[in-house]
Amino acid sequence: MLESLIEILQLIFSVSFILTVVTASTPLLLAASGELVVERAGVLNLGVEGMMIVGAACGFAGAYMSGSVFVGALCGILAGAALAAIFGILTLGLAVNQVATGLALTILGVGLSGLIGARFVGEKIVPAARLDLPFLTGMPVVGRILFGEDAFVYVSMALMIAIWLFLYRTRAGLVLRAVGDNHASAHALGYPVLRIRMLAVLFGGACAGLAGAYLPLAYTPFFIPGMTSGRGWIALALVVFASWRPGRLVVGAYLFGAVSILGLALQPLRLGVPQQLMNMLPYLATVVVLVLISRTRGTAGSAAPASLGMVFVPDR
């Protein structure tokens, strides 16, 4: 028993494990960051999985045809944003129910990605390069973790900081949060609620597209239909798990990434825990966290932005 514990600790604190967790968590972090902004603005977009997978297909297609990972990433971003635009037109322009539209978006996205990506299955590309600074990357322990990642990882971290700054240190961010908390008052104060939400939705789509593109451009450099494997849904859970706060989102993303890797990595250690149970952990954890954070907010309800998911039609 003690041996197993030592083995587990050795595993968790090894550089390679941390590296693996960082890369596994990056798509979650990217997609959840975008969705966080969207939900802070009061919109619930359940179509993250659809946008991610379209981003994966278009991202790979772009990279394959142009030979550049950067171009591929751009294609992924645009694809995600385009799909988000459809969502925005329906939910913001036509005041359609957000839950239904988000689900339709997921199904549409999965189908589209299959159609677009079919031509590219079986091809390979040169994956995104990793940073290799002369002195820094070679440093023991932290060298590769901090200075040896690929661009997507750094973008995800920079994005998180940028979002935090935006939401809490800029006026625009304040307005966005206000729109999410009480769209009627925000409208009364003269803020263009729908336009702000649309911008947020597009941003969310772009992030989801980038997150999806990460998979075939850096994680496993080939495209196969369905390669997002439900990460979009996990990203949605993450936003809630993080109580819509950027700092907690980072913790949550890496936690989820770690648990899912552990579910695999602990198997050879023969702890006797069925792997289905291990794989259930992230989801059960989310439910528990959801219950806990909602309780602490009192009987008034959940910790979500108060206008989340509610239809808004400005009266004139």
Binding site: T20, G122, T220, I224, M227
Partner: protein, 360 residues
């Protein structure tokens, strides 16, 4: 007299043509394929499709093929198979274990259509089974792994604990142990035939835990790709994955179904199709080893010698005595080696595997 003989012969031929040839000779033979995954999986379903195309090439105008991919193994499978049967397909291949009951049900409803089910064990007058003796290729891989590994640890990425997977693990380890009796294996179950992200994660975890040769019983090239990235060696699975691991891949045990498919379609065309159970291996060309690469010449020679020995029958991967991991000797029903029934229902690990079969 002679004239009557000729007339009689002509009459018999006409009747025969009517019975056997009527539907077949005039039109093309329609052959249907049901795949459980996408043909783009570069693994299992992809290889079946390669086989389909090979059959088309071989038989040209005489056949017309249809395939359905991504058919889930639930209620939809039965409908998909039945749709093929109803739309004039006379020979239908269902390429995954999970289609077994559905295939049988449809076979019972359409006695004039011939069904071929891969990796199953239920048959009927119009339903055959076929599978490949992948374990032969695994034995060779095990030997190569033992020679090439410096840490003595093999990393094995697997999908589900079904007998085929278990027997393959055992065969690999028996091969490895024949070179290095202390060879170890670390096994990770990803619970899916096909999940590139998870397979990549499992590969990384195995490498982190000391494995320096990877093998898999899943369908995507993710592990090969990680092996290439990390500078270690790997074996491709189902199809040749050298494209994804030019420096990593040692070999791959690829499935080659083309000859079998051509043979069976030809049998239908000739009116000679019978329900059979086919289990082809290296000898019949159903299992083909990808070129041996990234290894020193002596290892290559060893591999080729073993391959020849298995092909000719002088070496059987499951030759007795076989000891299971509890130390008991396994009953040897095939004389000098385990018999096919035992291999097909294998539910134990051989000695030297330091793990437990999940769910036991």
């Amino acid at each position: 007299m002679k004239k009557w003989n000729i007339v009689a012969m002509a009459a018999v031929l006409a009747v025969a043509a009517g019975t056997f040839g009527g539907v077949y000779a005039a039109e093309k033979l329609k052959v249907g394929f049901i795949y459980v995954g996408p043909i783009g999986d570069l693994g299992w379903s992809y290889q079946h499709d390669v086989g389909r195309k090979a059959m088309e090439n071989a038989l040209g105008d005489k056949v017309e093929t249809t395939f359905l991919e991504n058919v889930p193994e639930g209620a939809d499978a039965e409908r998909a198979i039945e749709q093929l049967a109803r739309t004039g397909h006379k020979l239908i291949f269902t390429t995954s274990f999970g289609f077994m009951d559905a295939t049988l049900k449809v076979a019972n409803k359409y006695p004039n259509v011939f069904f071929e089910h891969a990796t199953g064990f239920k048959r009927a007058n119009n339903m055959s089974t076929y599978a490949a003796r992948f374990y032969e290729g695994r034995y060779i891989q095990g030997q190569i792994a033992a020679k090439m590994s410096k840490t003595g640890v093999l990393g094995y990425i697997v999908s589900f604990p079904i007998p085929e997977v278990i027997s393959n693990i055992n065969a690999t380890m028996l091969g490895a142990q024949s070179v290095n009796p202390n060879m170890k294996v670390k096994i990770i179950w990803v619970n899916s035939w096909f999940d590139p992200g998870k397979e990549a994660d499992a590969a990384k975890a195995l490498i982190d835990q000391g494995a320096d040769v990877l093998t898999q019983h899943t369908d995507s090239p993710a592990a090969t790709q990680i092996a290439e990235q990390r500078g270690i060696h790997s074996f491709g699975e189902s199809s040749d994955m050298i494209k994804f691991g030019p420096h990593a891949q040692l070999t791959a045990d690829t499935d080659y179904w083309g000859d079998y498919y051509t043979k069976r379609a030809q049998a239908v065309l000739d009116g000679k199709w019978k329900s059979e159970d086919t289990w082809g291996g290296l000898d019949s060309g159903m299992v083909v080893m990808a070129p041996y690469t990234n290894m020193p010449d002596d290892v290559k020679k060893m591999a080729m010698d073993t391959q020849a020995a298995i092909k000719s029958g002088t070496l059987h991967p499951f030759k007795c005595p076989i000891t299971d991991q509890d130390g008991k000797t396994v009953e040897c029903k095939g004389g000098t080696h385990l018999d096919p029934g035992q291999i097909l229902s294998m539910n134990f690990y051989v000695k030297g595997i330091d793990d437990k079969i999940p769910g036991k």
